[in-house]
């Protein structure tokens, strides 16, 4: 009984927020449909219409519903094929205009769905195709319209293929909008990276060997050649392995070997369930080595921040997407491209990693405060409940959400989808990130309202919702809190 009360209460409340929500148009259908084709029975009730979806199932056991059960990346792409929609797949009817009260409508609903199923599917296939070809059209232009790309990309990019990799590179500003400049830019950046590696990642042995005066003269062969006492020579730059001086190549190497060890440890623990990252195959080892180079290089170039645990998690989606690019040239240079994009991505939020900036205006606490303000502006009741009644401070759950760009809260394919939206926000990643975090809170509102400190903390630290499209839709509708919102320059 109680639960029902809360559901209706929540519904009313959401009603207030979503007054301005647009009804799904054909062009948005495909995205919302993406992946849903595989939904198990239970979850389908969650999607029928906008308002219904805001209430139904999300406060219930979402783990069971799981918007996207065992999602296999490759498979999703197949659903775009017109032939892929077999008749045995039950598709949600979508885009119902009338706002139905949800709860007991289950049985009735399914019947409806079956009726309209066939009709709607054709529409959807076409719409999806349109969208995909929209995307391909945009990307094939000589001069890419970034605003348009941002709009399309925010609705989700296809898995597999080359689209996401290219789109992300454009959205991050790595690739210029003019297609004819691509080759030059990529070439320059990639060779810059190779040089950086050579300059900074060289082992001291290699370094001293290269800096030797007349290396051939000095090297003697142990297994052949003249007998006699071996000549002692001067060390180059007075440098040797036990040198403790700051300028010593060896000293710097040992300082970084600790960081390198930490990076190695973290990489071992990155996505242990994914073959791409983990395991002892030579392929995954090479991947980890590439990621290690990127992180070590970043640490060397940014001595004030070096390496912080978690950076590996932020790098992972980038490196994955670029390595799995079906364009072989691009995939071969995934390391160099990932490095540049990682730097760009982090430039916005690197201050979050800086402990001594924690309490400053650019630090994590300030961002967490903005999240609170955003929640307050959008749902004061929930805000009050969290902030005062249960004292669940954003620091306890959102720290990780924000610093790691939500990589730890959802399964990998979902993270990629969320990042499509984050990267394509015209106001920047951070702005959308806060809105998504706020949306996450709103989506579990009734559970939060009925929970105490411990229950709420547990809930938020193991975020249960897997229906990403829903969260992103809610995020889209959140009105930004302009009072503390700084537009990027």
């Amino acid at each position: 009984m109680n639960l029902k009360h809360q559901q209706t209460f929540a519904l009313n409340h959401f009603h207030g927020i979503t007054q301005t929500h647009h009804h799904p148009t054909p062009s948005t259908l495909p995205m919302m449909l993406k992946g849903k084709i595989k939904l198990p029975e239970k979850a389908r009730r969650a999607f029928p219409d906008v308002l219904g979806s805001l209430v139904a199932g999300f406060d219930e056991k979402d783990e069971e519903n799981g918007g996207f059960p065992d999602r296999v990346v490759g498979e999703e792409l197949e659903t775009f094929e017109p032939n892929g929609l077999a008749s045995d797949r039950e598709i949600d009817e979508y885009g119902r205009d009338d706002e139905e009260k949800y709860p007991e409508g289950e049985l009735v609903r399914e019947k409806h769905e079956k009726d309209v199923g066939v009709l709607v599917s054709v529409e959807e296939i076409i719409a999806k195709d349109e969208k995909r070809s929209d995307l391909e059209y945009e990307l094939s232009q000589e001069e890419i319209n970034l605003e348009k790309l941002q709009r399309i990309a925010s609705l989700g990019l296809p898995d597999g293929g080359s689209v996401r990799a290219t789109a992300w590179k454009l959205l991050l500003g790595y690739l210029p909008a003019s297609r004819d400049l691509w080759e030059k830019e990529l070439g320059e950046n990639r060779s810059k990276y190779a040089k950086l590696k050579e300059d900074l990642l060289l082992s001291p042995s290699e370094f001293s060997r290269r800096n030797n005066d007349g290396p051939d003269l000095n090297e003697q062969c142990v297994d052949m050649g003249v007998e006699g006492p071996l000549e002692r020579q001067k060390v180059s730059n007075e440098d040797h392995p036990l040198n403790n001086g700051k300028a010593s190549v060896w000293h710097q190497f040992f300082q970084f070997s600790e960081i390198a060890e930490q990076i190695d440890r973290d990489l071992q623990r990155t996505h242990p369930d994914m073959k791409f990252f983990s395991g002892e195959s030579s392929l995954s080892r090479k991947k980890r080595e590439a990621m290690r180079n990127i992180l070590l290089l970043f640490a060397k170039l940014n001595p004030e921040i070096r390496y912080v645990q978690g950076m590996n998690e932020v790098l992972a989606p980038l490196y994955y997407v670029f390595s799995t690019d079906t364009d072989e040239q691009n995939a071969a240079h995934a390391e160099a491209d990932s490095f540049s994009c990682f730097v760009r991505l982090l430039s916005d939020s690197v201050d979050h990693f800086c402990q001594h900036l924690d309490n400053s205006a650019v630090g994590i606490h300030s961002t967490l405060a903005r999240l609170s303000e955003l929640l307050k502006a959008n749902d004061e009741e929930l805000w009050r409940h969290l902030e005062y009644t249960t004292k669940v401070n954003p620091q306890f759950y959102a720290f990780r959400w924000i610093t790691l760009l939500l990589t730890q809260e959802f399964d990998f394919p979902s993270v990629l989808r969320i990042w499509d939206t984050l990267l394509s926000n015209p106001f920047g990643v951070q702005e959308m990130l806060l809105r998504v975090c706020c949306a996450m809170l709103l989506c579990v509102k009734s559970r939060l309202l009925s929970g105490d400190f411990i229950a709420n903390l547990k809930l938020l630290q193991h975020f249960p919702i897997t229906n990403i499209e829903h969260i992103l839709r809610v995020a889209n509708d959140i009105s930004p809190d302009m009072s503390s919102f700084l537009l990027p320059l």
Partner: protein, 201 residues
């Protein structure tokens, strides 16, 4: 890139109280991967101290070592190089009965060559003379790191403390020689490489 510390003939506490402070300040843990010790530490405390610098410690027996269970010789492979260790006070005959008839005097190069051949190693590290030497002969290279404390030997009292640090990188070795001369640490190096790869054992 593997760093191997080679030292020996410390003769603590009988002939020297400790390693020179300037050496001790350089020998910090975390940098060195292996330690080769030619012998004559002589007490357990020195063994323990060396273990703190690096847990992978290879010691051979010197005639004054209190620990009697150290082996007479030892071999190990690092990179493409086979290394052998032996203190060098022994008569070759006692090590290898095949040389029954040869009488060896200390520091005799011939016997060292024979020893190296017998151990079949590229680099032989021995001590006993308390003098740094690095010599190349037909069977390989012999390195004597000298005495790390500058302890007197039966031959001379004028001993500069010295030790050796080898940077082994696949087929190339850079031997850094650390010597305390007039209170200052002097560092030299010796570069050599191997042209044929080691066959796996």
């Amino acid at each position: 890139m593997v760093l191997v510390l080679a030292l020996g003939d410390l003769h603590i506490p009988h002939r020297a109280p400790d390693l020179p402070p300037k050496f001790k300040s350089m020998l910090v843990p975390g940098k060195i991967q292996h330690i080769i010790c030619t012998g004559n530490l002589c007490i357990k405390e020195v063994h323990d101290y060396l273990k703190t610098i690096c847990p992978d410690l290879h010691i051979t027996r010197g005639e004054y070592d209190e620990e009697t269970r150290y082996p007479e010789t030892k071999t190990l492979t690092i990179g493409q190089f086979k290394l052998g260790v032996c203190h060098g006070h022994q008569r070759l005959t006692s090590l290898f009965p095949i040389y029954r008839l040869k009488v060896i005097s200390w520091g005799d190069l011939d016997s060292l060559v024979m020893l190296q051949r017998q151990l079949d190693v590229d680099i032989l590290v021995t001590g006993h003379t308390h003098q740094f030497t690095a010599y190349k002969h037909e069977a390989g290279v012999v390195i004597n790191p000298g005495s790390a404390t500058g302890a007197y030997s039966s031959v001379t009292c004028d001993v500069n403390p010295s030790f050796v640090l080898m940077d082994i990188d696949a087929t190339r070795v850079v031997v850094y020689v650390y010597e305390l001369v007039d209170g200052e640490v002097k560092v030299d190096k010796i570069d050599f490489k191997k042209t044929t790869a080691t066959t796996a054992h």
